[in-house]
């Protein structure tokens, strides 16, 4: 049976992608941020997942505003990265697992989550930056990928409660897959940032740290907040934290914290990193 080996969270902003392609990891601005990923990479080397389900949002590469699915899942054997229009380096393609993806889609739809299924899906920096953060030191991606896109771009967006429930359904879906696969789930994006308007540039380290603690110990707390309440505190793009809730919902209520890292500012954001494991075999 497929098994969840853990979940992690990471920012996915393009500035990180640019810093990696320019090899700025040791630059004073970036060093502390990147150094804090070394324990994540060591953990991944140790648990050796077969598949990463990457929960992210598309920023105008695969989905234009003509069609915006609330939740979409890639169901292909391969995913390409592509030109986003403003100069981020395009990375090599990712292997998918169509059988596993279609099983997840079926199970989720049977659990009342009406996923859009995508047999062709360009993956943008939301997925690519996290993958590169974990595995750019290798010649090829060591895991297959399932892209799980959440609309965080065009309101109405799903709420934190719904995302948390999606995670719970995702856990059921993963654990009912007959093949022995080790699955890691990435919740990407966040934490506080606002790119737009006269309020652009807000960053709230108190809210960010509260989010990180609550997501570990009391994720229900976030499900009590409306998207407006989250945006008031964390900014319009800080709403991406709802994607962390998908990851958290897929884990058990009690989790073990393997790694906890925070740095701010990284470009416009507070960057939070968590590595969480289930506490017991279900």
């Amino acid at each position: 049976m497929a098994k969840i080996v853990g979940g992690l969270t990471t920012s996915h902003i393009p500035a990180i992608g640019n810093a990696m392609s320019q090899k700025l990891e040791k630059d004073p601005y970036w060093k502390r941020f990147f150094d804090g990923y070394e324990p994540v990479k060591a953990w991944l080397d140790e648990v050796k997942p077969d598949i990463a389900i990457v929960v992210y949002n598309d920023h105008g590469l695969n989905f234009f505003l003509n069609q915006v699915p609330t939740f979409a899942i890639g169901c292909a054997d391969q995913y390409e990265n592509a030109d986003e229009g403003w100069g981020l380096k395009t990375l090599s393609s990712f292997k998918g697992d169509a059988q596993f993806s279609w099983h997840l889609a079926e199970s989720l739809i049977n659990s009342d989550f009406d996923m859009a299924t995508c047999q062709e899906m360009l993956v943008d920096h939301g997925l690519v930056v996290p993958m590169a953060l974990m595995w750019r030191h290798l010649d090829e991606w060591p895991v297959k990928v399932v892209p799980l896109a959440v609309n965080t771009v065009q309101h109405p967006l799903p709420g934190a409660r719904r995302c948390f429930a999606l995670g719970k359904a995702l856990r059921q879906a993963i654990e009912s897959y007959p093949e022995d696969l080790k699955v890691v789930i990435f919740g990407t994006g966040g934490l506080s940032h606002q790119l737009q308007g006269e309020r652009a540039g807000i960053l709230d380290t108190d809210f960010d740290l509260q989010c990180m603690e609550k997501i570990i110990h009391d994720p229900e707390w976030l499900t009590q907040l409306s998207n407006t309440e989250i945006m008031e505190k964390a900014g319009t793009e800080g709403i991406e934290v709802i994607m962390w809730m998908v990851m958290r919902g897929a884990l058990q209520p009690e989790v073990k914290v393997v790694h906890k890292h925070y740095h701010a500012p990284i470009s416009n954001t507070g960057a939070g990193v968590l590595v969480l494991e289930n506490t017991n075999d279900s």
Binding site: P39, G85, V153
Partner: protein, 133 residues
């Protein structure tokens, strides 16, 4: 026909990108989406005015595109991720745009971010369990 009001409309200095904005900014964002392709970027760079007309931007939108007024473009339905695809033609990043929303310089905007993060390592120590290198 009426656009419903939302509680997030009250957040100051913020243009939550919803159905109403997406509807009014559709052609603008559609043009920006076309910049994912190099050939379209080249065509736009050759004659920005003509390219805006091809995508049926309103006069207000077209003028704001040409002069790189990103606050105006937000107000006219531009989505920040799509506006980023336009900003590069003015040699601007999202942080430059952020500074322009405030009417400050980019170094001032970056300092504003640093100021808000001030003292975070102390907060991590108080909270406990964080990586410190």
């Amino acid at each position: 026909m009426v656009w419903k009001q939302h509680d997030y409309d009250a957040i100051p200095g913020t243009y939550v990108f919803d159905g109403q904005r997406s509807h009014s900014g559709y052609n603008l964002n559609r043009m920006a989406f076309s910049f994912n392709e190099q050939a379209n970027r080249d065509e736009f760079a050759r004659d920005m005015d003509a390219y805006c007309r091809k995508y049926n931007l309103s006069d207000e939108q077209r003028e704001a595109v040409l002069r790189g007024d990103f606050l105006k473009l937000l107000q006219l339905g531009g989505n920040i991720y799509y506006l980023a695809k336009i900003a590069v033609f003015h040699g601007l990043t999202v942080q430059d745009a952020g500074a322009s929303f405030h009417g400050i310089t980019t170094p001032e905007f970056k300092q504003h971010l640093v100021n808000q993060a001030q003292g975070f390592e102390e907060k991590l120590r108080k909270t406990g369990g964080y990586w410190h290198g």
